[in-house]
Subunit: 152 residues, 2 copies
Amino acid sequence: MGSTDRPDLAAMLAPLTRSLIAMERPVLEAHGLSMWGYSVLIALSRGPARGQGVLAQEIGADKTRIIAVLDDLQKHGLIDRTPDPADRRARLLELTTEGRRIVTRTQAEIQSREEQQVLRHLPPADRRGFLSALRTLAELPRDGIDDNPGAD
Amino acid sequence: MGSTDRPDLAAMLAPLTRSLIAMERPVLEAHGLSMWGYSVLIALSRGPARGQGVLAQEIGADKTRIIAVLDDLQKHGLIDRTPDPADRRARLLELTTEGRRIVTRTQAEIQSREEQQVLRHLPPADRRGFLSALRTLAELPRDGIDDNPGAD
DNA sequence: TATTGTTATACTCTATAACTATA
DNA sequence: TATAGTTATAGAGTATAACAATA
């Protein structure tokens, strides 16, 4: 149980993730996007959000952290931010046509690079298995990982 | 190529990695280790390092960043830091017996948690495939990912 | 009174550059 | 002059807490 013949998951994932993010950066910059901005656009590409807090939580950010991001995205015409008629404290957030275009193109470019520079190194069979397993793990509720059911 | 029907790698890996790290934290704290301290011990468990710069590069850190970490590890008797006789500017770094004990136990505990809380959610077949693929990707030279061979 | 969004402040982490000693 | 290690400073990123508007 827990033999030391393989590196820890985090020890492998952290550097890999850093490299992936470094790989994304030039693509994002080419489209005038920050990492959080891209994250927001991706979330909104799956549908509008009612409330900034909801959106923030969805992408694992703090409510205060995304405000400047939203300001910027709105200023560049990539998102619409309108007061919710039902609750005028909240803002309805959705992509503009331009925003949808940008996020679609950016994501295609990023995934293309990922496939050509990273996934290429996996045999096709392993590749699909890896992506499938990764999706499973990525969709785990964070509670299930962060909590310590068998802590002590 | 680059169809948008799957999330980006980094988008899946980043939150997962954060959760993993959050999971590690209490284990590390229980052994009085920081994340970088643990990283150093893991690296040294694969053999002594001749020079702090070498060690830093090996774990993806800056030379200046690990100094305080090494100070702390040495203070707690987990590593030996002796001037290299061949080049007295450099320091020879290696685990003490106590250091080896700590890192072994800590890693066993961490991997046990990873398996019970994360890998558990993968069918055994997928699990081995995932770990194998992850090792492959983690061992890729960062140059191969960070660089942009087909940049434009 | 509670909640959404906002702003301002403080704290952590990281990177950059200057300094000491050996080569 | 160049390099290993160290130290000090500044910068980016993040979290915490107070504030205004609406419910």
